[in-house]
Amino acid sequence: METLELQTVKEPNKPVSQLSGSRAVLEAFVAEGVDTIFGYPGGAIMPIYDALYDYHDQLKHILVRHEQGAIHGAQGYARVSGRTGVVFATSGPGATNLVTGLADAMIDSTPVVCVTGQVFAHLLGTDAFQETDVINITTPVTKWNYQVTDASEIPAVLAKAFYIAGSGRPGPVLIDITKNAQLQLFDYAGYTKCDHIRSYRPKPIVRKEYVEAAAKMINAAEKPFVIFGQGVILGKAEKEFLQFIEKAGIPAAWTIMGMSAIPTEHPLAVGMLGMHGNYGPNVLTNECDVLIAIGMRFDDRVTGRLDKYAKQAKVIHFDIDPAEIDKNVKASIGVWGDCKETLPMLTQLLEQKVYPQWLKKFNDFKKQEEEICIVPEMNPTGDILSMAEVINLLNELSKGEAVIVTDVGQHQMVTCRYAKYKTSKSNITSGGLGTMGFALPAAIGASFGDTSRAIVAVIGDGGFQMTIQELGTIMQSEAEVKIMILNNQFLGMVRQWQQLFHDKRYSFVDIASPDYVQVAKGYRIPGQKVEKRENLKEAIQTMLEHKGSYLLEIMVGKEDNVFPMVPQGCSVSEIRLK
């Protein structure tokens, strides 16, 4: 490596070595174990890119086609690997293009570190070329951000950035580095990882008495119900969670972000919560006597109408973020802490139990849902394909082992309803922010985060056209992504709402598509379009077996709706099956 020559000079008062700010950034990345950077160069970040030239054997750089693609890529990478994703972007437009991804990572608690270039420090506030106040633009959508104007700050600031992004409740961090600081040489004394900041307590201290009170309440329950979110995955507590529900014998349902933390076919797994979740878990939320929420935040899409949400139940809420307890749903017992720690403490205090009658209720609702929704959706009577049957075939052919990345809309809900998972971190989707255009770049990022598994991106025709340019990233980086476009020729979810709540006034939801197979071909990605049922299985098989990326455009029913559905403003128990 021809990067820096560390002069191990022994004499006092002599610098350990002189290093540029740019190199200090890359040294920090290497020390943090970063292997992939998603980025796009530009004027204000050129010194860092210049330094990167010498680090290409240690740091892989994925050149995206738009900075939004870079941050979604880093998010996909982080979500599939559990490690922090890293982004480079230039000042001004480069940085503002990150905002959607930052907001997405913030609300979905994804660890991402973004380094943006900034104009020279002496030009700050002068409306210089490509100058924008990135720190203030990104403050509401970052867990922490900081502007560096002097190179000597870089090692400590980046160490803080990685520590903050990845610890506690993870989130995005943005470090804005002025160009002078990137160019400046300073006395580099090495990189030390950060493991403590005096004003920051990533993990609240667990109060044992609350865990004991929770255990007592659970042991006394007759109809306990566990609902869990991404906290189980972020806390790497999948095993601890299973031990908990298995010992306690409690049925468990997931939020969209918690999906895949436990195998979908687990006997205690009762399905997905929320607006388009399963029938049983929604209805029985309003029937359980103790509702145990773990690593989830009672999003409005999960709770429906709050004043009619689980009013009969005592609520126990486990969360690492104290601000989440009592935020939306008042908890009878709030247990602050990392569920990796709190769950084993709880499990130890629980009695081994089973609730056959209670579990049967979930199964009865499941049967109703199967009869009215699932079976007809899986087996459409006409020639037109349904999204559900496509996902069902994908499950069958991928044996539930693929990582499925979804975009936002009807296809997302259908995929989350029907996808079967065996391993954690298999469902990657934009849950909180609902960012259309997320899936394609996130899938690219995921393909670098986990090279051992197939990455399948299921995307609607609307969302795909939002970040379609990232096909160029696939072409150049040779990422292996299987793209399934479920084309219903509509912005389907909005159309569904217009049909149900706006008297079928289909206002600007009729979206035209290019010939996706031809577009992909232009990017040297093979593909095919499927319209007939008899070709579907073989096409999915071909896609999965193809070495390299592949695009499958599947034409599905134009005006199919996603059911069940909790209409907005209704209680979860008012969920409609049709």
Binding site: F120, A121, H122, L123, L124, G125, I135, N136, T139, P140, K143, W144, N145, Y146, Q147, T149, D150, E153, I164, N180, I197, R198, S199, Y200, D321, P322, A323, D326, K327
Partner: protein, 196 residues
């Protein structure tokens, strides 16, 4: 739960940008800040925000948790009026000739505990420290006599129940000194810095 006045006290690191991080917690929820004061504490690296809002206790509690969630915030407390000792400072600018001629004004000023900050030929500046009602009462009094300008500071408040605060803060700082603020030293040196 009804709305009432709460005073929020926030201890933070002395870092650039933390004011904005705290301010947007209120503005995002469309909550009006009645008064805001930032000041150093007795410990160099620790800053203190005193924020007054009218809200329900439930909302204030949630706001404090959101504030505490910020990386650079050490602690946030909320208190009702009976739990704090507080003052606001007000300045009043009045034409000097009226003060000189109208005896009544002088007496009223004395009754309101005002003291003179500056006397010039054309105007005089008085100061009053006290509660909102007190500073507001004097505006009404002075208005007929040609009040020229009025300004009031944000609230500063001291918690009644804070027995060993000072020692704890000192101890905290001793154990782990805070970081210095890095300001943009290049800003005033435009011409000396090479640029492309």
């Amino acid at each position: 739960m009804s709305k009432k006045e709460f005073t929020i006290t926030v201890y933070t690191e002395n870092q650039i940008g933390i004011l904005n991080r705290i301010a947007i917690i209120f503005s995002r929820r469309k909550i009006n800040v009645e008064s805001l004061n930032t000041s150093p504490t007795e410990v160099d690296s620790v800053h203190r925000f005193t924020i007054v809002i009218n809200e329900t206790e439930d909302v204030v509690k949630k706001l404090c948790r959101q504030i505490e969630k910020q990386v650079e915030v050490l602690k946030a407390y909320y208190n009702t009026e009976d739990e704090i000792v507080w003052q606001e400072l007000a300045l009043y600018k009045v034409p000097t000739d009226i003060i000189a001629t109208e005896v009544k004004v002088e007496r009223l000023l004395r009754e309101n505990g005002a003291h003179t900050v500056v006397i010039r030929k054309d105007y005089t500046v008085f100061a009053v420290a006290g509660h909102r009602e007190e500073t507001e009462a004097l505006i009404k009094v002075l208005e007929p006599y040609g009040l020229i300008e009025f300004v009031r500071s944000g609230r500063v408040a001291i918690l009644k129940g804070s027995s060993d605060f000072h020692d704890r803060l000192k101890e905290f700082e001793k154990q782990e000194p805070g970081e210095d603020v890095v300001e943009n030293e290049f800003l005033s040196e435009n011409e000396k810095v090479f640029s492309m």
